[in-house]
């Protein structure tokens, strides 16, 4: 698939664009603005940008204070540091009273590559979903990220956005007029099974569907960018109409999109399910591509899992 910009780059661009429209928008970073790309905003609006230093917990608390005084803060760092170090502050200073703070965890997943485990945010979705009232979004490509940043800014309440380091396959070549929080996007319809994916796994899901179509298997593909609140209607319809659901995500096995979808399926429309994800393990250093392959997140992994799932239908 053709590669577009990294979603983190789209994050920075979207902030810089929104800054002109929203005077109350402020941006915080913890000494990673060149990597998270929040620097794009900082360069345009230095008086509304705060580099807090390497102090993620402090940054989250400061963002909460800014929000309580009417600002709309976006705070970013690597997903691993932002959510692991800022978690209690997100819980007490943000989630508890629904403070209007937006977060962006970049370099999420194992596709960050060579830096290794310490920098690989692979449990961020589980942790973000554990925060009451948080909206949790993992956009698939640059277009979707730009739209999601806008939707996050307009939403009243806390939002966690997930961004990746590498260039992301273009899923929306013709643009995307609006990002609706909590709404799945059917990218392809089919009756034999549904693949639900988000982030960097949407590309492999589409490729796998194309491959399976060649074998006479009709696959529905849902881009489930919003993990919380989940589009339960789309999940239930998929379970009822296609009878089997495969969930693919760049996250550990516990607490991510797979868990959310499984809850909806078991509660409303039980159907066989399978999961493509990192599993219950830490990865390692290596190129992003090599890691996606070794840890089972390629098109072939999605296609194989789909076929095995079909056999159980």
């Amino acid at each position: 698939m053709q590669l577009g910009k990294a979603t983190r780059e789209a994050y920075g661009e979207a902030l810089a664009a929104l800054g002109a429209e929203m005077p109350e928008l402020v941006v915080l970073d913890a000494d990673l603005s060149k990597s998270t790309m929040s620097k794009k905003f900082a360069d345009k609006f230095p008086e509304r940008f705060f580099n807090i230093g390497i102090a993620e917990a402090n940054m989250v608390g400061i963002a909460a204070g800014l929000a309580s005084a009417g600002k709309v803060p976006f705070a970013s760092s690597f997903a691993s540091f932002l959510i692991c170090k800022g978690f209690d502050q997100m819980r007490m200073s943000v989630a508890y009273q629904g403070e209007n703070v937006k977060f962006c965890g970049t370099h999420a997943g194992i596709s960050i590559g060579e830096d290794g485990v310490s920098q690989q945010g692979i449990e961020d979705i589980a942790l973000a979903c554990a925060l009451n009232g948080f909206v949790v979004i993992a956009p698939a490509d640059e277009t979707e990220m730009r739209a999601a940043v806008r939707a996050a800014a307009l939403h009243q309440g806390p939002v966690y956005l997930r961004a990746g380091r590498p260039k992301a396959p273009i899923i929306y070549p013709d643009g995307k007029s609006e990002f609706v929080i909590g709404k799945a996007d059917m990218l392809r319809d089919g009756r034999d099974l549904t693949i639900i994916a988000n982030g960097l796994l949407v590309g492999p899901a589409l490729e796998a569907a194309e491959q399976l179509a060649g074998e006479g298997i009709a696959v529905r593909v849902l881009n489930m960018a919003t993990i919380k609140p989940l589009d339960t209607d789309a999940v239930v319809a998929a379970a009822k109409e296609t009878g089997a659901i495969l969930v693919a995500e760049e996250h550990i096995n516990h607490g991510g999109l797979g868990s959310a979808v499984a809850m909806a399926v078991t509660a409303h429309a039980p159907a066989p399910m399978a999961f493509v994800n990192i599993g219950d393990r830490y990865a390692e250093s290596g190129t992003g591509e090599a890691l996606m392959e070794k840890y089972g997140l390629t098109t072939a992994d999605v296609a194989n899992a789909a076929k095995q799932l079909l056999a159980r239908k």
Binding site: D29, D31, L32, S33, K34, S35, K39, N51, I52, G53, I54, A55, A57, N58, S80, F81, C84, K85, G113, E114, D115, G116, V117, S118, Q119, Y282, E284, S285, G286, T287, A290, L291, K294
Partner: protein, 277 residues
């Protein structure tokens, strides 16, 4: 019994530091990613620790319970630690260029899970000093006389946990603990002065109950004197504030924070190696 070895002469130490810097440049070039600036700023201090007769350690028995511990809390500088450990006989030198490759024990940041001679897994900044405090407390409980050395970055010291550890160690008079601050004046997005100027730094550590030694972290004699002084101090932890230059040893990397986290090209590598010949 684990004993302190005799250190190399000052000239031999300076040569050793050059060899270690060469490894650093070659490793990061081969890996095509990594952090040369903060590795090079720490090279002289690591050389002094491992080859200056400071650390009590034995490559033949790397996990001897009585060994001195060294924790690289600023884990992104791990190439300099791998290079030093290779020169000291812990890691085959020809393995160094497997840095950051799939399946290598030489992870992009220290991984105790992959390489047990790493005293702590680091890379999420701010955590190493607390682990060091724990080790020093255990030494006291066991009436062991090993010492714990923790290197932290100046940017890293913006993390609150560093100050929680510093406050506790000072209040609890945790001796046998030496923090070495690699004060190279830079972090990731810019200089310390631009991002979060936390001077006066010596006064801060002193106020938390630490014995302060301030040195030029590239002057081998000064480094050795400081480490010797640190060994004599009892009743409080020691903080060595080492003024260093990020990228020290390679002219085009020195004081140029572009080299915080960028790999040299083959040409740049050759140029750097020529300077380090």
């Amino acid at each position: 019994m684990l004993a302190q070895s005799n250190g190399l002469t000052l000239d031999a130490l300076r040569d050793k530091a050059k060899v270690i810097r060469r490894h650093v440049v070659e490793m990061i070039t081969a890996a095509k990613s990594g952090h040369p600036g903060g590795s090079l700023s720490a090279a002289d201090i690591l050389t002094a620790l491992y080859f200056g007769g400071v650390l009590r350690h034995d490559p033949a028995n790397p996990l001897d319970p009585n060994r001195d511990r060294f924790i690289l809390s600023k884990g992104h500088a791990v190439p300099v630690l791998y290079a030093t450990l290779a020169e000291a006989g812990y890691i085959p030198v020809d393995q160094l260029t497997t840095l950051r490759q799939l399946g290598s024990t030489l992870q992009g940041h220290p991984s105790k899970a992959d390489l047990p001679i790493m005293e702590a897994s680091t890379g999420s900044l701010g955590q190493g000093l607390s682990v060091g405090v724990g080790m020093a407390l255990a030494a006291k409980m066991d009436m062991a006389d090993y010492r714990v050395y923790v290197m932290i970055g100046d940017g890293e010291a913006e993390e609150g946990q560093i100050w929680e550890a510093a406050m506790y160690a000072g209040a609890a008079k945790v001796d046998q603990l030496v923090a070495i601050l690699d004060y190279n004046k830079c972090q990731l997005d810019g200089t310390i002065e631009e991002i979060l100027n936390w001077e006066p730094v010596a006064e801060k550590w002193a106020a938390f109950g630490w014995h302060i030694i301030e040195i030029n972290g590239h002057d081998m004699a000064e480094i050795l004197r400081a480490l010797e002084e640190a060994r004599q101090i009892t009743g409080k932890p020691v903080c060595i504030i080492a003024h260093t230059v990020k990228g020290e040893g390679v002219s085009f990397m020195a004081c140029n924070n572009e080299w915080h986290g960028k790999a040299p090209t083959a040409d740049e590598c050759a140029k750097a190696l020529a300077e380090l010949a």
